[in-house]
Symmetry: C3
Subunit: 432 residues, 3 copies
């Protein structure tokens, strides 16, 4: 089918915007943002003076692993929708690129001060973390936001992410090496708050296209396994403790592996105990251990402790899919396509709480990392969690409002057009 | 389809157990084993004192590669069954996690003595090797064992694996850096012996669901390529020769790459020479070189020697699929869903024999690794191979008997219910 | 369906050769070439004396990444044809293995002189680069060359590749660390020139099987993302500047990441601006930045410069798919199944031109790498590009002629049998 032949297929769509409005706005937004970022990078970006091959030896493999998680992991995890797989993997791709480029500047500025941004591998990893948070937010609005809405929603998230992360971990000294607080809880709450504005009646779990096929569940499983395998790299990529005896990367890796093992076992057990095994649980709850150990991953703790955190997170996440998501939709009308509240939101909060507890319990062993001491650190952890949740909720709600209500008319999808590739893609026929 | 609607679909299934029996036993078994392992890890596990970032720099990338092989490689390779792909990748996932956790303790105890187990990255890699052996066993009973039967079958395999590997390589000093003997031959024979008890009439190659679709052959191919790419890491991950001039990892990598190249070329040539090209051969025989070079991978040898081992293994494995598997099924009634006899069993034995030969032939150059000398080592290799085959055969037969005959009634699948996801999974409709 | 049952299915095929001719020639060619290479490796190959574990630490991870690109990246990218996915991924697999083995010897000889070839990890990486070039050529003739034709076409490419690369970069000292010139432009032009002989009437874009399905576009996307993620490893794997202050790998990584970000953003924007989003653009144009920055990737330059190269390449590549490919087919009758002219050809040339410009512009900072100085190097770059294009065009045309016209009768596919797995594969039913 060529482009002309596809046109009548789209003519009958019920949303106010035509296909041109939808894709024209997307193309113009993307071209404009890209040009702006190119100009800003030309004006303010330069490679760091310490950009050496030693830098590559220390950071490059970890950067690759984080990229696998962002592009393949999140990208394929979101292909579970049977009629929206093209969009899921492709929008994940282009939006991650945009966010990484924007975050190089935004994070550079908040960390290094206004002016020239010194670009190196750790900054690229930080930018990829920001893309992780943005892709979590994407999960909440998957299939409901138009491509242009999504682009702006995530572009607006970047400066807020950078600012919040810098305040919570940079200024206040909260522990959050793997981002339970500043990446997972932040990204989930931002996306859920935005989703309030992008959840028209009929866009929930009952929507006929809001579901998986056998094939799409298999591609999603690929995303899950990439995330599972490389999660230790995510939690350990930037772990450092210069001038101390601490071995933070070693503990990040071991604690994360154990937490993930626990979450997988508990996720499967909880899924089988409460009904037929469900691919939604297998794809998501099994990863909740990586989220929940994130804030405390670099701490010395008994291995059973990391395993227990993972078990708790896996069980909690499965229960979230069974009871929290339906309740959120029924009572608040908030739909959460990927269940990010269950995979990132609740386990992220659990991770923040666990870090407060562990910083206290295992203090002397972790003195090099716990800046505020056994008594002060738990409060800092809770303050960081509170600040993050508030910033994400307010920021996500404002951004969601902006892209849904304040944008040009006809740019929102009607409920019946959601979860469907055919509006945006060449040669995709609509499901009859 | 929601859970209620799915119930009648399952009502008419002919196996004695109801869906609840099947999944209830699985859920209870998994929850019980997980709890037990958590308690044991809390009592006996602690992180190693040498768990440093240098440890991470040496081992972590290799651990990741082995994880890719276990979770993505074996997991997707087994998705070739068109009606059993959910179960293949998911049971591979959860059982690998269970085995890794159990193996941390089991291998820790046999290596370090009873009492506290010191957990570090090399132990995690060893545990992942054990999961490799277990997933090979899974391949023999794929689609025939119920999830709970599989869980117990593999849980019982772990201590036997740990003991055998410790005796053969630790005590006796057999060469087996890549596990031709203690991983591949062991896992294959254990699974085949268990499969004797799980091969009812009608569960063989003629079963209408025991086959691939175009899509499932493609996902399986993904598994093959991951295994092909990262196999050098498997064979080299734990190669060491402290206090010597030997460079074992370098030779592991080079020999394994060459053996894999040979197996791929020979596997394709043999497949095309004997009939239409067959995805079964492409998915499996191409990897036989990695298996066969495993025991001798760290030895200095001419590169053509490694290539020749691979060529022999690839051709042998293809012939196995063409003639051994049908003969095994016809004469012994043993069905081997994935053909692990051809990919792991015969090439593993070939690898054991090759290591005996090479330890003799290339002795002086490998004196640092060959503990028993040019004359003594071949006997040790053969003894290790014999011990492994015997242990796996007896152990697998006992475990297979236990999970199939001694377990609660109604837990086995009838032949007509095999190779089918619909019994265990939410929202999977049965093939009409 | 067993082998006998499949026979009648093939009886009605219209190509002159029978199935036996096609697969017999393939099997004999492959077995013969493999045997020849085994003998040559036995006579001339030996492991390098410096094959140490330090060698592994420096090169092995980069080798793995390049292997992922070759086997999974190119392999899955070419599965986009809905009826030719088995052949795409499998022929990519076996041909890459053959090329790597052959290139070990061919590149070894041109680099080290005739006689003994010293095999080590950098040589394996060089051989994998050659496989990259060969898989690019494969893309131009995908679905049109029979397996045996393809085998010979690529086997003939290896010595020419080795010679050209050695002349252009080794002798003349052209900059080409990531192979814009000697890998991408070379491989594309070789394939296109050969395609002239393999493009019968009816084998173009209008062929009913020359297209994707929803599922095959998803597997292709997997290839794209692997290529995107690991491309910095491709461009940096062999970067060295011994005895200087240059940090070539660090710049290779950073410049390549930025160029890829630019190409993805520009590719999506150009696709959306000119019509409905198209998976062909998303799968290919997004990668053009990695191609175009290749020759200059190791140079110190402002980050915005690398980003701009990527943006230009992404936009250029999308335009190529929209206008160049149809024009090539209409005016010259050359069909280019994967559009390698757009992903590798034009961006490769762009990369050669960019390297000439950057070697001049950023000279003093790159004095350690730019052997011929700010004035001389641009000419060398252009000469290298010219030599490469000429060699590839002449070599590809001769090889294409040889495999299509000079080979035994009945070995070519008729147009109506192209883009179809059923001729070669067991158990694939032809599309009705």
């Amino acid at each position: 089918m060529d482009a002309e032949a596809a046109a009548p297929l789209l003519a009958g769509t019920s949303h106010a915007g035509t296909s041109w409005d939808l894709r024209g706005t997307f193309a113009a937004s993307l071209a404009g943002l890209t040009t702006l970022l190119l100009v800003l990078l030309a004006l303010f970006g330069q490679y760091a003076a310490d950009l050496t091959d030693a830098n590559v030896d220390r950071y490059y493999a970890w950067l690759s692993d984080v990229y696998v998680m962002v592009f393949l992991g999140f990208g394929f995890l979101m292909t579970f929708l049977r009629r929206y797989s093209y969009s899921a993997v492709s929008l994940n791709f282009v939006c991650s690129c945009l966010v990484i480029l924007e975050a190089l500047l935004a994070i550079g500025w908040v960390q290094q001060g206004w002016g020239t941004v010194s670009v190196d591998l750790p900054l690229l990893i930080d930018a990829a973390f920001c893309a992780g948070a943005a892709m979590i937010s994407f999960g909440a609005v998957l299939g409901k936001a138009s491509p242009a809405q999504l682009l702006w929603l995530l572009a607006l998230e970047v400066p807020l992410y950078a600012l919040n992360a810098q305040v919570v971990t940079g200024r206040w000294g909260a522990l959050d090496v793997g981002g339970s607080i500043t990446i997972h809880a932040f990204g989930a709450v931002y996306g859920l708050a935005a989703s309030v504005w992008l959840s028209p009646k009929g866009a929930g779990s009952g929507h006929p296209k809001n579901g998986a096929s056998y094939a799409s569940d298999m591609t999603a499983m690929l995303g899950t396994l990439f995330l599972f395998i490389y999660w230790p790299s995510f939690n350990g990529a930037l772990a450092t403790a210069p001038g101390t005896d601490a071995q933070p990367r070693a503990f990040c890796v071991m604690n994360t592996v154990l937490a993930l093992l626990g979450a997988c076992l508990a996720g499967f057990a909880a899924s089988a105990a409460t009904g037929q095994l469900d691919m939604v649980h297998v794809q998501n709850a099994t990863l909740a251990g990586g989220v929940a150990i994130g804030s405390a991953a670099n701490l010395v703790m008994p291995p059973a402790c990391a395993l227990a955190v993972g078990i708790a997170a896996g069980a909690l996440s499965t229960c979230g899919y069974l009871w929290l998501s339906p309740a959120l939709e029924r009572t608040c009308g908030v739909t959460d396509t990927c269940g990010v509240a269950n995979l990132h939101g609740m386990p992220g909060v659990l991770g923040g709480l666990a870090s407060a507890l562990f910083a206290h319990l295992f203090y002397p062993a972790n003195a090099a990392l716990v800046a505020h001491g056994a008594k002060g650190q738990p409060g800092v952890q809770l303050a960081g969690l509170g600040c993050t949740l508030a910033a994400a909720a307010v920021g996500g709600a404002c951004a969601g409002w902006a892209v849904s209500r304040a944008s040009p008319a006809g740019q929102s999808l009607a409920a019946e057009d959601m979860f469907e590739d055919a509006h945006f893609w060449h040669e995709v026929e609509k499901e009859e």
